[in-house]
Symmetry: C2
Subunit: 223 residues, 2 copies
């Protein structure tokens, strides 16, 4: 495998069809105006970006119980979790934090949901590519290769700490399911984005004041 | 109140008597050799530092069910929680992370427990000093003053993010109980210590590589 020469970079994902959770009804009234591409539809609900896959819109509608046009963390958890793939609230909160609208930290709307859904679909593809034995789990080395493949050169020592939270203490090799993989990936992605904001010339190092340092990190801790 | 002139600094706490949780029996055999001040007692159990208050030793013994000389997170939670003061597992994990022995990330021994207990006692004193109306809660301003009083000059914007996790969404002013106060305090204390390791000359800013940045932060995220 060819490793990227820079110490970190961004992937340009090509959008892929997102996984479709099961048990999502399609009989709900379609109260989001799919042809109105403004930020608020003619019915007063926030609407989806142009070209949003109908499955994404249906999934959002199926969990937006109060028809507010926004979903909270438990609704997002329901939307993303299916029989095959359940997400912990910890991962959901991290996703909410990374994709949230700056004006509403507790809920996300159609635009953020569409971006998040697309991102999860891309990480699903990466996971399946590196889960070579189709066990539904990947180990530390596969995680490193997976992150490397999309431009994140994370030191082995950091990865060891990152996956230590999934160590059950039995001495067995740590393996990550898709939920944990997304959690690790989002931590690396989120921190890298924060770091890059302070390292605009891609030198691989950044000078931070104490205030900036706290401001960068604390949102991750409270997510 | 006089604010410290430096942007951050450390408090030199004077040890105070720690709070004594209720319902801690004293009839357990005293299997820790309190007069042996080495790292392992003559009975093979790790022992407490010289001068450790007997209440601390009894509390540790009362929760160390398997007599291993080490306690895990749920045992620590029981040791610290009493009728008046319960700690969430989130706070407990953060405490474990900050006080752990580098060789054992899942358990703490007598030495770490004694340090942790003493620290909680000190934070209890600070909490009570700034909870001026004795409501058992402090608000954002009192939190800022409390952190300032022990040398942590945390920007108001950072504090807002820090306490946002306790916002119940009702629009009411956020107030912290002692558990949440300790959690906030430990986040600030832990991150400040990490930053200071990279700012040894106290300039208020530090240059970090991408690897160092990740290595500093990720342990907090997985704690």
């Amino acid at each position: 495998m060819t490793h990227p020469s820079q110490s970190y970079s961004y992937a340009s994902f090509s959008p892929s069809a997102p996984p479709m959770p099961e048990s999502l009804g399609t009989s709900r009234p379609n109260y989001y105006n799919q042809t109105n591409y403004g930020s608020v539809s003619s019915h007063g609900y926030p609407s989806f970006p142009p070209g949003t896959h109908p499955d994404i819109i249906r999934t959002f509608q199926a969990v937006d119980n109060d028809r507010s046009g926004f979903i909270d963390e438990t609704e997002l958890q329901r939307a993303l979790s299916s029989h095959y793939q359940r997400f912990s609230l910890r991962t959901i909160r991290l996703l909410m934090f990374l994709f949230k609208n700056p004006n509403d930290s507790l809920r996300i709307g159609p635009k953020e949901f569409a971006a998040l859904w697309s991102c999860i679909g891309q990480w699903r593809g990466i996971f399946e590519r590196f889960d070579r034995d189709r066990s539904g789990k990947i180990d530390a080395l596969e995680l490193r290769d997976a992150l490397y493949s999309i431009g994140f050169a994370v030191p082995a020592s950091v990865l060891q700490v990152l996956i230590s939270r999934y160590d059950d203490g039995t001495g067995r090799r740590v393996e990550l399911n898709f939920d944990s993989f997304v959690e690790c990936g989002m931590i690396v992605k989120g921190l890298t984005e924060k770091f890059k904001e302070k390292d605009t010339r891609y030198t691989g190092s950044a000078t931070l004041t104490y205030d900036t340092f706290l401001t960068m990190i604390i949102p991750f801790l409270v997510a």
